[in-house]
Amino acid sequence: MPPSLAAPSRAQRLSGLAVLLALVLVAAGVLWQQASYDPASWGWGGAAPGGGAGPLASLAVPGLEPREAGASFDPATLSDKIDGKAELYLAAGFERLYTRRYALKGQPAIWLELMLYRMKDQRAAFSVFSNQRRPGPTPPGLGPNAYATSNALYLANGPWYLEAVASAPDPALLKGLDAAARAIVAALPGDKAKAATPGEAELFPPQGLKPGSQVLLAKDAFGMAGLNQIFIAAYPAGAPERIAWLARRASPEAAQKEAEAYAKFLAVNGGAQAPAPKAIPGARLVELLGVWELVWPQGAYLAGVRGAESQEATLELALRLHQRLGGAKP
């Protein structure tokens, strides 16, 4: 700049300062604006209103506050949430999982998570419920398929399966678990009859039956590919534990064919066929690695007893099951 320039006038200096002040105000405005924002207005991430957590989205639990908006998972994304456990649900017939966490008011570190599975039908829900059953008392009023453990509560109701898991066995949290489960059961559509166990599970002979041991194996039961939808029940009297099992098929022919296929499967895996008892028509008796397997078709039913070390114990339970099935209307 040429040295001959006059010093800037007072007006020029003041105007310059005024401009700088304006810039400071603009910067402050921009900073204020960026800090005061509502992420929901941009609409990414978080759950859609009434969408993400499905039936849990509007669930209020007394004493607890939601920790998040919740999420949901479909068959393709289920393993993102529960990894290898997903296969159990997918095999049984999984449709959707809704999850949401709640925490004690003002204590976000003490929380519980609700995982509500929508299964294909009541059988599918019973299958995943029974396969994971842990020892624990059944709380009253939640139907027969419910139990509580020291930090969690599980129940199956109609096509729904609920897992409510507390991060710690905190008494206030456990009260919340119970309240949440009751609120969910009350809100689920459908009548109370749906809470009952599928019919086949009631067909096992009651004497000697281990309570709550009925399990529905959805797929590939006993390691045999294609042996699906098998109910099992445990009879612990006498060691080792005996397992009675049964399934209902579309037709007597189908049951017959599958009984043969299972006997063949046992044979392929090293089983030795033994003369079958006459009392049960069409039965096949196989000895495999020191334990006995009996399988027979009975009308549309396919039934069996496995796990006993003696023929007598196998036959004793099989006869009782045969008798029960004889009186059952397929």
Partner: protein, 636 residues
């Protein structure tokens, strides 16, 4: 402090702010992500974006109101926007300053002398306003709003104001005749659409597009701040070339773009003539040293009769005049002022060409019979005609898109769609994410209207309408692996994010090896004769041995035997009986009632060049006339 230093600080501040807004336009809540940063502020401050979308689209959307503030302040201060605020102007200013380095006073004064080419920007402004005027006419004639009459009056006045004295009456008459003509003509002519062309040269959309789609992807590729992965933009070279050309032309003439091209500058210049404060001389005569002319950014002749419509308020003249002869004052310059020397015929020609442009573009049929099914617009986009009346081509939606599926349309989509957003399912990291509506919220002109997640997904109160569909996926059976090549593949079905899935499969067993005969069976193994097998090739679980209408899955194979997993009804074939190997295929089908056109299937398709499943714009929600389905029709 010299006022010119205040100006430099202001320019640097706003340029930095503009670049910062480009950087932070990323989905996320960290400090350098979107949060609440007003990333559209510069686009909104630009009065031409507001004015043209108002005329073309019929409303001044949300923040575009800021443009009115710019116009108002221009009437008080003059073109402060150009000299103090405009980030594109700051870039030109800086490069022009570099180009003037080392040149002597005389040469610099020559380069900064007024030039007839400075008229061009007014003609361009006339062209862009003419183009949107046909929409205005349509609105007026359909009685949609008296507000637009006011808009037309503003244009007429602004144009008339460029003339003084006797010429003015004639000008009013000419404008009135033209207005009447185009009202009548627009009614008869087909609706052109694509009338909002101003965004091509409007400085803020131009700079925004160039930085977002060309500069930032280059700068960010090693840094990965703006995007987690390097970003690609189709045709970014052309966008970058236009940008760089305008920057480099400053070396030839300082502020080349501002002086000759900028339509926003022209609009502000027309107002600046009437501004309260102007730069002027204290006395008519001065020493004539030409210091001021050598430093003049606007080429507005501060030493003589000043042209206030060209003055960008750089205030170099005021600051550096050795006599202190130049001032910024409310009164007129003591040396007198020059009015814009605009050729009436040229302005009318610009306006006329502008008026003719949309109908001419409309003849191409893009909005009619020859609509382009590749034009898959972002979710929430208005119907194509309305979309083109609002899209500024600023690139904000493509910048914020988390997957980069939003791309600038190239010339192959037609002139009218140039640089508007279109989904390209192969270039980004995925298709359109079902749980994202970021583009609809960042769009400064509501060409993509703001939608909620519930609306996009068709949940809650939108359950009846269903999700927003961008188009429909079509399976190309000539390229699809299970359809054309007997190879199992269900990638598209697996990746479909819609629940229940919009892609379903039907199982087909296709014979791939025949001329085989069964041999003896030992254990689970069956010997085969007739032709040799490739050991292990059938062990993927997709191959079956078929005989007598029943099948058994092949578990493993050697050159001459297969190990089988029997299926229902399977009987080991008699030795010597013919058997075939079949592959179990799950062939994909698309349910058009469920498909939302997100393009995730297309992105994931393993046929990596031209995909075997591709989305096109049929059945998009925004164009009911392109629907594939009659409502309520169909088997379910």
């Amino acid at each position: 402090m010299r006022i010119t230093w205040a100006r430099r600080i202001s320019q640097a501040f706003f340029l930095a702010l503009f670049l910062w807004f480009c950087v932070v336009a990323t989905v996320g809540e960290r400090l350098w992500q979107l949060r609440g940063w007003p990333v559209n502020w510069f686009l909104e401050l630009d009065p031409l974006t507001g004015l043209t979308t108002l005329l073309a689209g019929g409303s001044l959307y949300a923040g575009l109101l800021w443009g009115a503030a710019t116009l108002a302040l221009t009437l008080v201060l003059g073109r402060f926007f150009c000299g103090w605020l405009c980030p594109f102007g700051a870039m030109h200013h800086f490069i022009g300053w570099l180009g003037s380095h080392g040149k002597d006073l005389k040469e610099r004064a020559r380069r900064n002398a007024p030039h007839p080419a400075q008229q061009i920007k007014y003609f361009l402004l006339a062209f862009f306003l003419g183009a949107v005027a046909s929409d205005l006419a349509a609105r007026l004639t359909t009685g949609q709003g008296a507000a637009f009459l006011a808009g037309a009056a503003v244009i007429a006045l602004v144009l008339a104001a460029t003339r003084r004295g006797a010429g003015r009456g004639f000008y009013f008459a000419a404008v009135a005749v033209v207005l009447a003509l185009w009202v009548a003509w627009s009614l008869a002519a087909p609706r052109g659409g694509a009338s909002l062309l101003a965004g091509l040269l409007d400085p803020i959309p131009l700079a925004s597009r160039s930085v977002n789609l060309a500069l930032l992807p280059l700068a960010d590729s090693p840094l990965r701040i703006a995007w987690p992965e390097p970003r690609f933009y189709q045709g970014a070279a052309l966008i970058g070339a236009v940008f760089l050309s305008f920057l480099l032309l400053n070396l030839w003439r300082p502020r080349f773009f501002c002086r000759y091209v900028c339509p926003t500058g022209a609009l502000l210049g027309l107002l600046a003539r009437f501004s309260l404060f102007k730069v002027g001389k204290r006395q008519a005569r001065c020493g004539g040293c030409l210091d001021c002319e050598a430093l003049c950014e606007g080429a507005c002749r501060p030493a003589g009769k000043l042209r206030p419509h060209e003055c960008v308020l750089c205030l170099n003249c005021l600051s550096d005049c050795p006599e202190g002869a130049i001032t910024y004052q409310a009164g007129p310059s003591a040396a007198g002022e020059a009015a814009p020397d605009l050729s009436r015929r040229r302005v009318l020609a610009g306006l006329g060409v502008g008026l003719a442009a949309p109908p001419l573009l409309g003849l191409g049929g893009l909005l009619g019979p020859d609509w382009d099914p590749r034009l898959i617009r972002p979710p929430g986009s208005l119907a194509e005609g309305e979309f083109l009346r609002r899209c500024l081509r600023c690139g904000q939606c493509m910048r914020i898109c988390p997957t980069g599926v939003l791309q600038p349309a190239g010339l192959s989509f037609g002139l009218e769609a140039l640089w508007t957003p279109v989904l390209n399912m192969t270039i980004g990291t995925s298709g359109c994410q079902p749980r994202c509506v970021a583009c609809s919220h960042i769009c400064p002109s509501a060409a993509i209207r703001p939608i909620s997640l519930a609306e996009k997904l068709g949940q809650g109160e939108y359950a009846a309408e269903g999700p927003i569909r961008l188009g429909t996926a079509f399976v190309d059976r000539g390229r699809c692996l299970p359809w054309a090549m007997d190879r199992p593949c269900i990638v598209c079905q697996e990746n479909c994010p819609v629940s229940p899935k919009a892609i379903f499969t039907r199982i087909a067993f296709q014979t791939v090896l025949d001329g085989l005969a069964a041999g003896p069976a030992t254990g689970g193994e069956l010997a085969l004769s007739g032709r040799a097998l490739r050991p292990g090739a059938l062990a993927t679980g997709d191959y079956y041995l078929a005989a007598d209408g029943a099948r058994a899955r092949i578990r493993a194979n050697t050159g001459a035997t297969v190990s089988l997993e029997p299926g229902p009804g399977w009987q080991a074939p008699a030795s010597g009986s013919p058997v075939v190997v079949q592959v179990r295929l799950q062939r994909p089908y698309v349910d058009p009632a469920r498909c939302i056109g997100c393009g995730i299937c297309q992105h994931e398709c393993p046929v990596s060049g031209q995909r075997a499943i591709r989305v096109s714009a049929e059945n998009a929600t925004r164009e009911p006339s392109h629907s594939l389905l009659l409502k309520g029709a169909g088997p379910v």
